[in-house]
């Protein structure tokens, strides 16, 4: 093999490796720095992610995609986006005016679709995940109307479930946008949540729901529904509930 052939083999290596990952691998170097076009691409991706954080949530988009499933709209106690970003405590609490609108019942589970830090993720994947998951639940389960929550963090689900009398809450939330993924959805499952008492260690989390590059709806829904069944059997979620198959975690880094 000649040197020029060897060189051409390895120049072709990175494009083929990039089929396996979105990571910015094989960027090349200018001295110790990045080539100019990669530096500018990174800045463009950062700009897109910054914009995603500040895009408004449109509950109608999710409601329409749910095709007639009953929904309830709520807001957190954070009045606007800037306050929301700096006051996570407000994002975890319901606006008192909205609490009264939530239907109380013998619900086995309530799904909360929450904008979190990427309304784009929720617009694109929220309804599909609710539909895929509910399709796998036992028909005897009482599923509450889907709650569409604005300026909401994960723990808002505790407040919602508690107000509605739901045994379990699944919060489907827009994850903070990365530079390669501005539309990633997270799912957090909590059994018998108690506002202010439930901690991060009491939840199970499934992250990076973002087909086709991240988890697909089918895979995520199967894991979530399986975990919900076991949570009900064992009456627990969080550190004590490990999924021996794969893809469930205790998140130490909640939104």
């Amino acid at each position: 093999m000649t040197i020029s052939q060897e060189v051409s083999v390895d120049r072709d290596l990175w494009p083929s490796l990039r089929r396996h990952t979105q990571a910015r691998i094989g960027l090349g170097r200018a001295g110790t720095g990045l080539p100019t076009h990669h530096r500018l691409e990174l800045q463009a991706a950062h700009a897109a992610a910054r914009d995603a954080v500040h895009s408004p949530f449109e509950p109608d988009v999710v409601a329409t995609a749910l095709r007639g499933e009953p929904t309830v709209r709520v807001r957190s106690a954070a009045p606007d986006r800037l306050t929301y970003l700096q006051r996570p405590d407000l994002g975890r609490r319901l606006d008192p005016a909205d609490r009264a609108h939530l239907p109380v019942g013998e619900w086995d589970v309530v799904f909360v679709v929450a904008d979190g830090l990427s309304s784009r993720a929720v617009h694109e994947h929220g309804a599909a995940m609710v539909r895929a998951t509910t399709a796998l639940l036992p028909t005897a389960w009482q599923v509450a109307p889907v709650v569409l929550a604005e300026q909401a963090r994960v723990a808002l689900g505790d407040d919602v479930a508690s107000a509605m009398g739901a045994e379990m809450v699944v919060v489907l939330v827009g994850e903070r946008p990365g530079m390669s993924a501005a539309d990633s959805l997270g799912a957090y499952l909590t059994y018998r949540p108690k506002p202010g008492v439930t901690t991060d260690a009491d939840r199970n989390c499934l992250s990076n729901i973002r087909p086709p590059l991240g988890l697909t709806y089918e895979t995520a829904a199967a894991k979530l529904a399986g975990l919900m069944g076991r949570a009900r059997e064992l009456e627990i979620t969080g550190v004590g509930l490990k999924d021996e198959s794969d893809h469930m975690e205790v998140s130490e880094r909640l939104l």
Binding site: R11, L42, R176, S180, A181, D246, H247, V250, R253
Partner: protein, 462 residues
């Protein structure tokens, strides 16, 4: 509880406890404001610093910021305090201690470490400027080892972080190759898995162990899962090098991570018993970061930097190989912008080092914070000057699993070049042995040539 007072600009200020005083003396940051602990004005902040400067260091032993009875981290701090080592500074106030630190040499600082409590170092850091924090930390040398030696003067190690959002082995391996070719990975090759399932974690551990063994790389792997998962896997014979855990500065915050000191004790003993290190036996890898206690509503009215320093007391108990403050990870509610993140990075690094820990940093920010890649460059340069043991590196600075920006492999190359820093000695020798080291000690650019390591990639591409 004691009260502390000072007069500034004709106004009298009163602080009702040591915790209140520490919080008011802290530099401006969004997390303390969120917690309702921040000084109400710029002048009150400086008044608190005047009062704090006069507080004797012994006050921190007499008045715990979180009661001994209610918090096991407080008990750990006070029960393990080395009064013999403390004697060198026992007569000083916080202000005098600042001057002592600035004048001290490396051996004095090393001897003092066991005599210091987190609250003492947090307090003195509040009187220090950014340059003070760099100057003192730079003099501290904390050396640890497993298969590579971390923390030697003139060296900078890196964590190679080949994360993948679905833990796809091919994707992880491709990113691993990229990092190795850029000379990274001497602190640890560490993956944040997308899942905490024991099977998936074990698969990743075996992938990393396979590469490390195949190329005889003098480094260690870690899949950053919950400590209970690591213990389970160690029992089942998985190739666990380092046991990872996120830790925080209060018992309640650790509980929110699902850990106790007893659990960490067990994991530590189990990892040591494996004896997998070759040049050293430091087996623990901890991550911390300002804001985690507040995030878990477990801060007990203590400011976020002081609580963070208390996490280092937890880490110190286990002689860790690496302690990583993930400085800008949580978001703008705790550290609002690049300026606050930089200050926190310097404080964390200083406090950890002075307490005797091998401090490294994940110099990073999220997209909802007001920061960009120029902030990374600024922080990296200052922390390099300050003598950080290691930094976290990701491909292009973009972590596609955790969705945040960190330093890149290129950034680490830059830092080594401008400051004349070298990799860990064992890793440097390995880089040389596989032809990645240039004549001046720099990492050769082999992206357009063949290299034995690219076999990792060619197998995937085939």
């Amino acid at each position: 509880m004691s009260t502390y007072t000072s007069t500034l600009g004709g106004r009298h200020y009163r602080f009702g406890s040591l915790a209140r005083l520490l919080a008011a003396a802290s530099p401006e940051r969004s997390g303390d404001r969120l917690a309702g602990l921040a000084a109400e004005s710029a002048q009150e902040r400086v008044a608190a610093r005047w009062a704090l400067a006069d507080v004797p260091l012994t006050a921190f032993l007499a008045e715990p910021v979180i009661p001994y009875e209610t918090d096991d981290v407080t008990r750990l701090i006070l029960d393990t305090h080395d009064t013999g080592a403390f004697a060198a500074v026992a007569g000083l106030s916080v202000g005098g201690f600042r001057e002592w630190l600035l004048a001290a040499d490396t051996s004095q600082l090393a001897a003092l470490a066991p005599g210091l409590t987190p609250e003492m170092v947090a307090a003195v850091s509040k009187l220090m400027g950014n340059a003070d924090l760099v100057a003192v930390a730079r003099k501290v040398s904390v050396v640890t080892a497993f298969r590579s030696t971390i923390g030697l003067p003139g060296r900078l190690a890196t964590r190679l972080q080949p994360n993948h959002p679905t833990d796809d082995p091919a994707g992880v391996a491709a990113a691993l190759l990229d990092g190795l070719l850029l000379g990274s990975g001497d602190a640890v090759i560490g993956i944040n898995p997308a899942t905490d399932s024991p099977k998936a974690v074990r698969d990743l551990l075996e992938l990393l162990d396979g590469v490390i063994q195949r190329y005889a790389i003098p480094t260690q792997s870690c899949v950053l899962s919950h400590v209970t998962t690591s213990m389970d896997l160690m029992e089942r014979g998985a190739p666990v090098d380092l046991v990872f855990q996120s830790v925080a500065g209060t018992q309640a915050a650790n509980a929110s991570f699902g850990v106790t000191l007893g659990l960490l004790d067990e994991a530590y003993e189990a990892a040591k018993a494996l004896g997998r290190g070759t040049v050293g036996s430091n087996v623990m890898y901890f991550e911390t970061g300002q804001g985690s206690a507040l995030s878990a509503d477990a801060h007990h009215g203590v400011d976020q930097q002081t609580v963070e320093a208390r996490a280092y007391a937890v880490a110190r108990r286990y002689d860790p190989l690496l302690v990583n403050t993930v400085v800008g990870f949580i978001g703008p509610e705790y550290l609002y912008d690049g300026r606050q993140i930089l200050r926190a990075a310097l404080e964390d690094h200083f406090c950890g080092k002075v307490l005797g820990l091998p401090m490294g940093l994940d110099i990073c920010y999220t997209n909802h914070a007001d920061a960009d890649d120029d902030d990374i460059a600024t922080m990296l340069t200052m922390l390099g000057v300050a003598g950080a043991s290691f930094v976290i590196c990701t491909p292009g600075g973009d972590d596609i699993m955790l969705n945040y920006q960190s330093a890149s492999y290129h950034d680490a190359l830059y830092l080594r070049e401008v400051l004349g820093l070298r990799p860990a000695p064992e890793f440097e020798a390995w880089l040389d042995s596989i032809g990645l080291l240039g004549e001046g000690g720099e990492i050769r650019d082999v992206s357009g040539t063949t290299h034995p390591l690219t076999a990792i990639g060619r197998e995937l591409a085939a």
